[in-house]
């Protein structure tokens, strides 16, 4: 009896794999989407902190001001593309996104330095691109401090002090962090598993094989397992694919325990496969399954902390994120990769994910069986 069950599930899984590898669309979902997403998010984050388009508004036009600009541009972080002649011009460049970084050196900068009284330069950053903004400010900060130290060394006391006043325009908080590639693992697992599960079930209904399967001795539970195990396997494959790609191409560090990655992925998959099954009970055609998947996927990503910090969201949305499995898995996966967190820190996330997962998969299994009957 148990052996028969095992054999039938096995045959369902094998059949599913044959079908996936014969279908161009399915193959694209399995192989292309993960790599494409990793590339997009990986490059968008790591490349942008070099060659930051920069404007320098130098009113002082002194040896010292030119020296500061030279030091700023030397490492290749900042490309000085514009030298505006007025504050309005500078503002216009930022407004039109011609530049994301601006340095303003006012008249009297060199004179103040020579008289050894505190002086200031202004740094402006386009905060809409918060990742680049925070990195650019950090670079500028370090370069200007170094400049200050070097000046103090050549000119004996009293010590020179340059007061750096930084302000990010449009988004003064700059809270987002740039660990996007590990986050891509979470997104890829979600997207591929949702799409494959919902579409594979709906396709059976569309072509009439679901009806045929229902008169075979195949039990509903076997059908559910046969329709989720293949996509769980593929999700694990994609997880490894993105991890290897992230480590090799983007030098993503793995600071935590690698063993926790498959464990947390498995718990995460409970929710995702469950949601895929629910979508398959709602959608009548594969197109509807596709649209329903994205209807869930987009808000799930937006309300996960992947791109926008949860603390910045209105309170109602913050509460909604507690229902989002992606939220917990992102904390786990970023903790594993970047912070080197272990079970002792991540267990609350794991527990929350497990509770949501068990609830969702139970609900979906019940609903799925009911739809069959």
């Amino acid at each position: 009896m148990i052996q028969d069950t095992f054999e039938r599930i096995n045959q369902m899984v094998l059949k599913e794999f044959i079908q996936i590898f014969r279908d161009k669309r399915m193959k694209a979902i399995v192989f292309v989407i993960p790599l494409l997403q990793t590339m997009v998010f990986g490059y968008a984050v790591t490349m942008d902190v070099n060659h930051i388009p920069t404007a320098v508004y130098d009113v002082d036009r002194s040896y010292e001001s030119r020296e500061l600009v030279r030091r700023l541009t030397a490492p290749g972080y900042f490309d000085v593309l514009y030298r505006p002649g007025s504050p309005d011009e500078l503002r216009d460049l930022l407004d039109r996104s011609k530049i994301t970084f601006a340095l303003q050196i006012d008249r009297g900068f060199s004179a103040d330095l020579k008289r050894r009284i505190p002086t200031s330069v202004q740094v402006l950053v386009d905060g809409t691109d918060s990742n680049t903004g925070i990195v650019a400010l950090d670079y500028a900060n370090r370069i200007i401090l170094k400049f200050q130290r070097d000046l103090s060394a050549t000119r004996p006391a009293p010590a020179v002090r340059i007061d750096l006043r930084q302000r990010a325009w449009y988004n003064p908080e700059l809270k987002s962090k740039n660990y996007n590639v590990p986050g891509v693992i979470a997104m890829v697992i979600m997207l591929t598993s949702l799409l494959l599960t919902s579409m594979a079930v709906v396709r059976e209904r569309e072509i009439g094989t679901m009806e045929q399967l229902m008169v075979t001795p195949l039990r509903p539970a076997e059908l559910i397992l046969g329709k989720t195990i293949p996509f769980a396997i593929i999700a694990f494959f994609d997880m490894v694919l993105v991890t290897v790609f992230g480590v090799l191409v983007f030098d993503i560090p793995i600071n935590g325990s690698l063993a926790l990655l498959p464990l947390s992925t498995a718990i995460y998959l409970l929710s995702i496969l469950g949601i895929g099954l629910v979508i398959s009970t709602v959608a009548k055609t594969q197109q509807q399954a596709l649209m329903s998947t994205f209807l869930f996927y987009m808000p799930a990503v937006l309300l996960s902390g992947f791109m926008f910090p949860i603390e910045n969201m209105p309170e109602v949305f913050q509460y909604m994120t507690y229902l989002n499995p992606l939220r917990y898995f992102l904390v786990i996966i970023r903790g594993l990769f970047l912070k080197g967190n272990g079970m002792s820190i991540l267990w609350p996330q794991m527990a929350a994910l497990l509770v949501i997962g068990v609830a969702v998969i139970s609900f979906s299994a019940l609903r799925f069986r009911k739809r069959l009957g």
Binding site: E7, Q19, D23, I207, G208, E211, Q212, T216, P217
Partner: protein, 306 residues
């Protein structure tokens, strides 16, 4: 050992909201019958099939298939029956052989008998040369035969076919019926639904379905003669004009056109001569005429109108 009757249904009903798809249906089908559920689209044929195969729960009433009640022992029934839904239920991206093997696996057909059985199924359905072809690349008739082969892979006792020849060319339909008669000789009970009345004629027994219930049930010949209505068939050149004229004759109850013939339903036998006299007076040449038994279509239309 005597086997329980193939199918018994008492007061079987299924509603979808306010629609009574199947309404207090009674049915008794013996082993070895080729039973046809006949009726137009929407009569409740498919719902009946789905109730009897255990896919759908009845709203009320009960049915026994191969001796097992559908409500509580649907899983036992599934081992005894084969079912071919309207769309054949094939995986179009799998080959002919992969489709058959998949169903053989799901039905747990023992490895020892599997090879011989599949060869036989492929042989009688003439699919042997196409084993490696994708099911999606088969013609409609071949898909239908593959669907049948898949439904037969576990040698079911009772075979359910839901409009099996819908959208299949006439030659393939004839082949298909040859296969059904072979199965019947082997003792398989077959229940099929059809809206083609010429196919209904080939069943051993038929039930005419209308609004979710069976309005008349017997051998096709008996069903036709049960309509105690004399009918005549008239061959003529101008069927349409002739039809208009005949309709006005007293004692004529129905007129329908079949190609170059008219089927005329009569209230009494004597009306036949009145029809011929009228046609001659109007100058319509009658090539031939004869008394006929009403066709199933005639019966069906008359029954539904009652």
């Amino acid at each position: 050992m005597t086997l329980p009757p193939a199918i018994i249904a008492t007061g079987l009903s299924r509603s979808f909201g306010s629609i009574h798809a199947v309404n207090k249906l009674d049915l008794a089908i013996d082993r070895g019958e080729l039973y046809g559920l006949v009726g137009p689209d929407g009569a409740g044929k498919t719902t009946t099939m789905r109730l009897l195969t255990g896919i759908l729960e009845p709203t009320s009433g009960e049915a026994w298939v191969a001796g097992f009640p559908v409500r509580t022992e649907a899983e036992r029934i599934k081992e005894k029956i084969g079912y071919m839904s309207q769309r054949f239920g094939l995986y179009e991206d799998l080959t002919v052989m992969e489709n058959i093997l998949f169903y053989a696996d799901i039905y747990e057909v023992a490895r020892s008998v599997r090879k011989a059985r599949i060869e036989r199924l492929l042989g009688f359905s003439n699919l042997t040369p196409f084993v490696d072809r994708l099911a999606g690349k088969l013609s409609g008739g071949m898909k239908q035969k593959l669907g049948l082969a898949c439904a037969l892979v576990h040698t079911p006792e009772i075979l359910f076919l839901d409009e099996p020849t819908n959208g299949v060319d006439p030659v393939s339909r004839r082949d298909f019926w040859r296969i059904l008669y072979d199965l019947l000789r082997e003792g398989v009970t077959i229940v099929l639904s059809t809206s083609y009345l010429d196919e209904a004629e080939r069943c051993t027994r038929i039930g005419l379905m209308h609004k979710g219930t069976i309005i008349i049930e017997d051998r096709p010949k008996n069903v036709r003669s049960s309509l105690a209505m004399p009918m005549m068939e008239v061959w003529t050149d101008k069927v349409r004009t002739a039809g208009e004229i005949v309709r006005t004759v007293e004692g004529v109850s129905s007129v329908s056109v079949y190609g170059d013939r008219l089927h005329i339903g009569l209230k009494h036998k004597g009306a036949a001569s009145a029809v011929l006299v009228m046609l001659e007076r109007e100058g319509i040449a009658v090539q031939d005429y004869r008394e006929i038994l009403p066709s199933l279509e005639d019966v069906f239309i008359t029954m539904v109108e009652k």
